[in-house]
């Protein structure tokens, strides 16, 4: 930590976290499915940078491993699976949304304020370096959650889930200097398997329903 002044270091981490949040908004504003996936990959890349920065600044080296895994799994493998799914499904744009884009963006803005409001009382617990990251990570989790509600296509819902996962990872790395390594490995394994299972399911849905528009899933009604 000696090389960089603490206040500058803390601002660098904040900058990275803010970029993560910004890509969330870009995802919410994007109708093209493949662009959503690209933005998710970009967000994961920012996440990896944040984690690497944290590892460098704090000298906790196992966070480097987490950053590397983020690159492999979330920047390369999962976007590739999703791209394949999109190609097979033959849908490029999401025309009808549950909630349109302008109100969605406003709601997301409100969610960010909410996240900062909720975490305000406990921020003093954290380290100087990552003061604001907890609030940002909660904001990302909430926006990911909202994306799952606002969209209809299975692929964007999955992107929403993965965005939530990114927010969680930011929370764990930045706010608490990373979970122990074994935990991080487990979480990555789960995310990878989740990605695979979602891939399997979207294939089967496509085969059976000829669509992955989840509003067509209406077989089961009370």
């Amino acid at each position: 930590m000696g090389v960089i002044r603490p206040d500058i270091a803390s601002q660098m981490v904040d900058l990275c976290a803010a970029l993560l949040l910004l890509t969330c908004f870009a995802i919410v504003a994007q109708r093209r499915l493949s662009a959503c996936v690209d933005l998710f990959a970009l967000q994961s890349a920012f996440l990896a940078v944040t984690a690497a920065l944290m590892a460098f600044l704090t000298g906790i080296h196992h966070i480097f491993i987490a950053a590397l895994l983020t690159v492999i799994i979330k920047v390369i493998i999962i976007p590739r699976i999703l791209k394949k799914v999109i190609k097979r499904l033959n849908v490029t744009r999401e025309l009808v949304l549950n909630i349109n884009i302008p109100p969605s963006l406003l709601i997301c803005g409100a969610l960010v304020i909410l996240a900062f409001y909720i975490t305000q009382p406990i921020i003093s617990l954290g380290f100087l370096l990552t003061k604001d990251s907890l609030a940002i990570s909660l904001a990302i989790v909430l926006i990911g959650f909202f994306t799952m509600i606002a969209r209809k296509k299975a692929v964007t819902q999955v992107v929403g889930f993965l965005v939530m996962e990114n927010g969680l990872f930011l929370g764990a790395t930045a706010a608490a200097y990373g979970m122990p390594l074994i935990v991080e490995l487990g979480v990555f394994f789960d995310v990878l398997v989740a990605g695979l299972i979602i891939g399997i399911f979207t294939h089967r849905l496509q085969d059976t329903f000829d669509s992955v528009d989840t509003s067509k899933l209406t077989e089961l009604k009370e």
Binding site: I60, I118, T119, P121, I122, L125, G126, L134, S137, L138, V141, G144, F145, M148, A154, Q157, F161, M164, E165, G167, L168, G171, A172, A175, A176, Y177, G178, M179, P180, I182, V183, G186, V187, F189, D190, V193, A194, I197, I198, I200, F201, R204, L205, T208, F209, T214, L217, E219, L220, E222
Partner: protein
């Protein structure tokens, strides 16, 4: 006694992986029977030891205290009968040509991995590893629910995936928040995630962080437990999954998710006092019972009927823990045990009805008791238990919870009793329509080979259900006393 605990957890993993290489159905039957026997044997060793010495630890990862042993008891017993039942049920599907042998093997692999994930979750001494194990059970359950690949099964599987992934992500956020608070006290380390350490340092943790964490954990694991208003996936998943899986979902997974909530509750209680978590659980519990009581009446599909009854019973247990006090806590725990037994029994019976009638519509099923005495009779008995009739254990726990509620907040007792009465009437009405009367439809016979397995599973479960309602064996008493102390109350048991 770490050995028994390790074997108990490792057995399903080994059996699951070997299921993939097994060639014949007979070999699979032997493998899974041996697996069930190992589960039961190891579980009894673990339970007896915990009852005597109170804690078993293996390394830094595994730690079984009374609450874990209590979960092991349910997981291993219902898991073992579930394996027997699945051998019969899936075997019949293979005989009829509905399921390929390849898929039959895959089913048992997933089913065993599912048991493995649940057993690990109940015994790890680490909040984050518990999360990973519960996530693992979600993943395997998602594939099991969509196993039949029909439209309805895929839809139910998809809804389950989306809802429980959101839930489980929120639970992880809650877990991170607990870690955030505990590493402030203990420093960045593995200990900051250990249940044992968390109990020790609970009074020093930041109360606001813990309150926030509890809300996230409750929403997260509550989704998996089918607590209203996050219950919407439950009836569909239970209705469309292959029946052995429905039985495991209802009997085991809901309890496991409840276990996770309870673990966090006991920490938060130590940090901020009982007044925070109690009312939240109480309100959600009452809401669950209300919603279930209403939906029980309008169900036309018997598997979904029993699924709604599960929501009701999770709600009842939550009311017990929410009210607190010795009777409330004891009632809640006792309720979890008896519900696991009764609900899996009723699903075993429902699966047999489905095999022999070929559909799930309540109205078209009549005269079960006359046509298939064992299946119809056990369905009726288990329903009486679920409706809360004596001499079954659910009656005892409901009475205890009501008594405690009456002492502390009488209005809760009144509302609770009214809801129970509605649920009692609707459930009995629906099931007696199926059980009584003249059979109208032709029976599709099942092979003797199937019957051997399903009958033994049903009989074992019925016996356990009857026994647990009327007796309190010594080892169970020795588990209950530390468990209730764990929630800050002391229970005198005879």
């Amino acid at each position: 006694m770490g050995f028994a605990l390790t074997v108990l957890i490792a057995a399903p993993l080994v059996a699951g992986l070997s299921s993939l290489v097994v060639r014949t159905r007979r070999a699979m039957e032997w493998l899974q029977c041996a697996h069930a026997a190992v589960l039961l044997a190891m579980m009894s060793v673990v339970v007896m030891n915990v009852a005597e010495e109170s804690v078993i630890t293996v390394g830094i990862l595994l730690r079984a205290d009374a609450l874990s042993a209590f979960m092991d008891l349910m997981l291993a017993f219902v898991g073992a009968t579930g394996l027997l039942y699945a051998l019969g049920y899936m075997g019949e599907e293979v005989t009829r040509g509905h399921v390929l042998h390849r898929h039959y093997k895959r089913f048992f692999c997933l089913f065993n991995l599912y048991l493995f994930a649940m057993l690990s979750a109940a015994n790890v001494d680490n909040i984050a590893l518990m999360w990973i194990a519960i996530e693992g059970s979600t993943l395997s359950a998602a594939l099991l629910i969509g196993f039949e690949k029909t439209k309805a099964a895929l839809e139910a599987g998809w809804k389950y995936i989306i809802l429980s992934f959101v839930g489980i992500a929120l639970a992880l956020f809650g877990t991170v928040l607990v870690y955030y608070a505990s590493e402030h006290v203990l420093g960045v380390s593995m200990e900051a995630l250990s249940w044992k350490e968390l109990y020790r340092i609970a009074p020093d943790l930041n109360p606001i962080a813990l309150k926030l964490a509890f809300v996230f954990v409750l929403i997260g694991y509550g989704t998996k437990a089918g607590v209203a208003p996050m219950h919407t996936w439950l009836s569909e998943a239970h209705g469309e999954a292959p029946t052995p899986v429905s039985a495991m979902l209802s009997g085991l997974m809901l309890n496991l998710a409840l276990y996770a909530v309870l673990r966090f509750k006991s920490i938060v209680d130590r940090t901020v006092g009982m007044d925070f978590t109690g009312p939240i659980l109480l309100v959600l519990g009452l809401l669950s019972v209300t919603i279930a009581a209403i939906y029980l009446l309008v169900q036309r599909d018997y598997k979904r009927l029993f699924a709604y009854s599960s929501i009701e019973h999770v709600g009842i247990a939550l009311v017990g823990f929410g009210i607190g006090g010795p009777l409330g806590v004891f009632g809640g725990l006792f309720h979890m045990l008896n519900h696991a037994l009764a609900k899996s029994t009723v699903f075993y019976a429902a699966g047999m009805v489905m095999l022999r009638r070929g559909h799930k519509t309540i109205e078209r099923v009549t005269g079960l008791v006359r046509q298939m005495p064992l299946v119809g009779g056990s369905m009726m008995l288990a329903t009486l238990a679920l409706a809360g009739m004596p001499p079954f254990g659910l009656f005892v726990s409901e009475v205890l919870i009501t008594t405690e509620a009456y002492g502390q907040r009488p209005w809760v007792a009144y509302v609770f009793l009214c809801l129970l009465a509605v649920a009692f009437a609707t459930l009995l009405y629906q099931v007696s329509r199926m059980a009584m009367g003249e059979p109208m439809e032709k029976d599709i016979p099942v092979t003797d080979r199937t019957n051997r397995f399903t009958t033994s599973a049903l009989v074992a479960n019925l016996a356990a259900m009857g026994y647990a309602g009327t007796h309190m064996p010594g080892f169970l008493r020795d588990l209950f006393i530390p468990m209730t102390r764990f929630f800050g109350v002391i229970v005198e048991l005879p």
